[in-house]
């Protein structure tokens, strides 16, 4: 059994009178692909947004690599080692693919205004390293030949890949993907599956929200199911598939 990477305890979130997350607790182990599924409106993306600091939470604690995660501050969460992509792709649309990934290096580099203006050797070395790493990552996700293209002109599948490359640039321990296969055709989905499996093989832990149940079942080591903001199951895919509560949630009573 591998070590615990992320441990969420009793996370709750209200939007006005609606409780979007009810006491959600889950544990992600190092090196696994952890799937989070559920019907529309079950609270998957809300959980993501609380976890990555975009929404303040109303209750609960998250421990990451043994330290409490500072929720509510996205850049602190990123610094701790959680990177994410967005359901409706959020790239820096008018920057090139390469620049998008270079922005991802911001967190792990340190040049300030004075370094930028003077371009001292330390800053130049850092810039060169940023550039090199960004190029490597573009190649890694398979769009190395598109480095100079403006992000918004990339094909849909390439935009997804670029977003993953940008997330990887922050050197995450946990990569959280919000419906990466949404809107993809079968070929693109198969390629994405290969990419995510490659990430796991390289030692990254992946948290995956997905609607495509086939993809989740084929890819994930463990799966949690949310329904109306509550976790109703957490197990290996084979068991989740046959769980009566899960079947009820998906097919209706």
């Amino acid at each position: 059994m591998s070590a615990v990477l992320l441990d969420a305890r009793g996370v709750s979130k209200y939007f006005g009178g609606v409780q979007a997350l009810k006491d959600v607790s889950l544990t992600i182990l190092e090196g696994e692909i952890y799937g989070l599924i559920g019907p529309n409106g079950a609270g998957k993306t809300t959980f993501f947004n609380v976890l990555t600091g975009l929404y303040p939470r109303d209750a609960g604690e998250v421990t990451f690599v043994g330290h409490p995660l500072k929720l509510g501050t996205p850049h602190e969460v990123a610094k701790a080692g959680i990177a994410r992509t967005f359901q409706n792709i959020r790239l820096f649309a008018n920057m090139t693919a390469l620049e998008n990934v270079m922005v991802g290096r911001h967190l792990r580099t340190g040049a300030g205004v004075i370094g930028a203006v003077l371009r001292d050797p330390a800053t130049r070395t850092e810039e060169a390293a940023i550039l090199r790493r960004a190029e490597e990552l573009l190649h890694y996700v398979g769009i190395g030949d598109r480095a100079g293209a403006i992000a918004r002109h990339l094909s849909y599948g390439d935009q997804r890949r670029l977003e993953i490359a940008r997330a990887l640039a922050t050197e995450p321990k946990l990569l959280a993907l919000d419906e990466p296969a949404a809107g993809m055709n079968a070929t693109e989905t198969a390629a994405l599956k290969g990419l995510i499996e490659g990430l796991r093989a390289d030692g990254l832990t992946v948290l995956l929200i997905e609607h495509d149940v086939k993809l989740v079942m084929g890819l994930c080591d463990r799966v949690a199911v949310l329904d109306y903001g509550e976790k109703i199951a957490e197990d290996v895919p084979a068991n989740v598939r046959n769980d009566s509560k899960v079947i009820e949630a998906y097919l209706g009573a």
Binding site: L54, A78, R90, F92, M95, V103, H106, L107, I130
Partner: protein, 350 residues
């Protein structure tokens, strides 16, 4: 952008020579008044480049930018005039002006961090007016700014013991005060251009553009958007502060009416008309919007006289009318500005 390619050197030398002889040629051909226009062009280019950091790079719409110009100008006026009897050297006041204006930039930025677009525009507009109204009214109970009467007899900048307001003869050419100021302003404008270019192509510059493009994604990438935005406000404001100090020393007089809303709008127009976020475009915008209205002011009367035998329309009113029409035309036909970033060109070539 790597360092300057070698084939750019002839072009840069040409620009350097043109900048160096411009005041001599213009002064001889058109008179000192036009050298003065060039001086103001350089000042406005500094301002436009400062505002470009805030609006063009970081995407934060600031309608009160002239307040930082005012802060720099009044700081200079207070520390180098008979008003308080202080006569600090310009070389001490100008950096201080940059720092104080930068501080004001942070003061403006801090409460507006959550605002974007229209809302930010309204708050910054209010901020600009507050500064002007303070300057107008801080003559009682303690007289600090001398109110609407303004502060006069401000010390000129002194270089090598020579006040720049006085003419000097070098190699048979008489350099008047406005010409000497021209060289100072152009030199500092070039420094501002240099800093702008270096910043644009840096870790900080990329973070600014990322915030402009998508603030939430920028946060998710680990950018501390609060600090990075405050830095943009501070940097932009400090350029404004330096330009303000130069303005005060050049005019030897400041009063609140130089820092009205229309001035903020003019500087913003330079940025937008030229090409937001694109430094050469912003320089072009600053140049055009300083020189064209002046040319018009001088030309409209005589042209009407020649065509109709009398002046039908007041040149001043006509100037604003044509200015408005030009703005509308540019926004309709070149919405990205006269000289926008060549992004699309880069794309076509791939």
């Amino acid at each position: 952008m790597p360092s300057v390619p070698s084939k750019a050197w002839p072009g840069m030398t040409l620009i350097g020579v043109a900048l160096a002889i411009a005041p001599i040629v213009v002064g001889a051909g058109l008179g000192n008044a036009w050298v003065r226009v060039l001086d103001f062009a350089a000042l406005y280019i500094m301002l436009a480049l400062g505002l470009n950091i805030v609006v063009g790079f970081a995407g934060l719409l600031d309608l009160g930018y002239i307040a930082f110009y005012a802060v720099g100008a009044y700081l200079y006026a207070l520390l180098a005039s008979p008003h308080f009897g202080l006569h600090w050297p310009a070389w001490a006041i100008l950096p201080l002006g940059a720092a104080v204006a930068g501080l004001f930039g942070v003061l403006l930025g801090a409460p507006t961090l959550r605002l974007r677009g229209d809302y930010l525009a309204i708050v910054t507009l209010g901020f600009g007016e507050i500064i002007r109204i303070f300057l107008n009214n801080l003559n009682a109970p303690v007289n600090i700014t001398n109110g609407p009467k303004g502060i006069a007899r401000i010390d000129p900048v002194t270089l090598l013991g020579h006040p720049l307001s006085r003419s000097v003869e070098i190699g048979g050419i008489t350099f008047t005060g406005v010409m000497l100021y021209y060289y100072l302003f152009v030199a500092l404008a070039l420094v501002v251009v240099f800093i702008g270019i270096r910043l644009q192509d840096s870790r900080i510059g990329r973070a600014w553009v990322a915030i402009r493009e998508d603030e939430i994604a920028a946060k998710a990438c680990g950018i501390d958007t609060r600090n990075v935005k405050l830095l943009a406000f501070a940097m932009g404001a400090s350029f404004g502060g330096i330009a303000g100090g130069l303005f005060a020393s050049f005019q030897e007089f400041v009063s609140p009416e130089s820092f009205g809303l229309l001035e903020s709008v003019m500087v913003l127009c330079m940025v937008v008309l030229g090409g937001m976020g694109h430094i050469p475009g912003v320089i072009l915008g600053g140049l055009l919007l300083t020189i064209l209205p002046e040319a018009f002011r001088h030309g409209a009367g005589p042209v009407q006289q020649a065509l109709f035998g009398k002046v039908l329309l007041d040149p001043e009113a006509l100037r604003m009318l044509l200015f408005g029409l030009a703005l509308i035309a540019v926004m309709l036909y070149r919405p990205a500005g006269l000289w926008p970033e060549p992004r699309h060109r880069r794309e076509l070539s791939e």
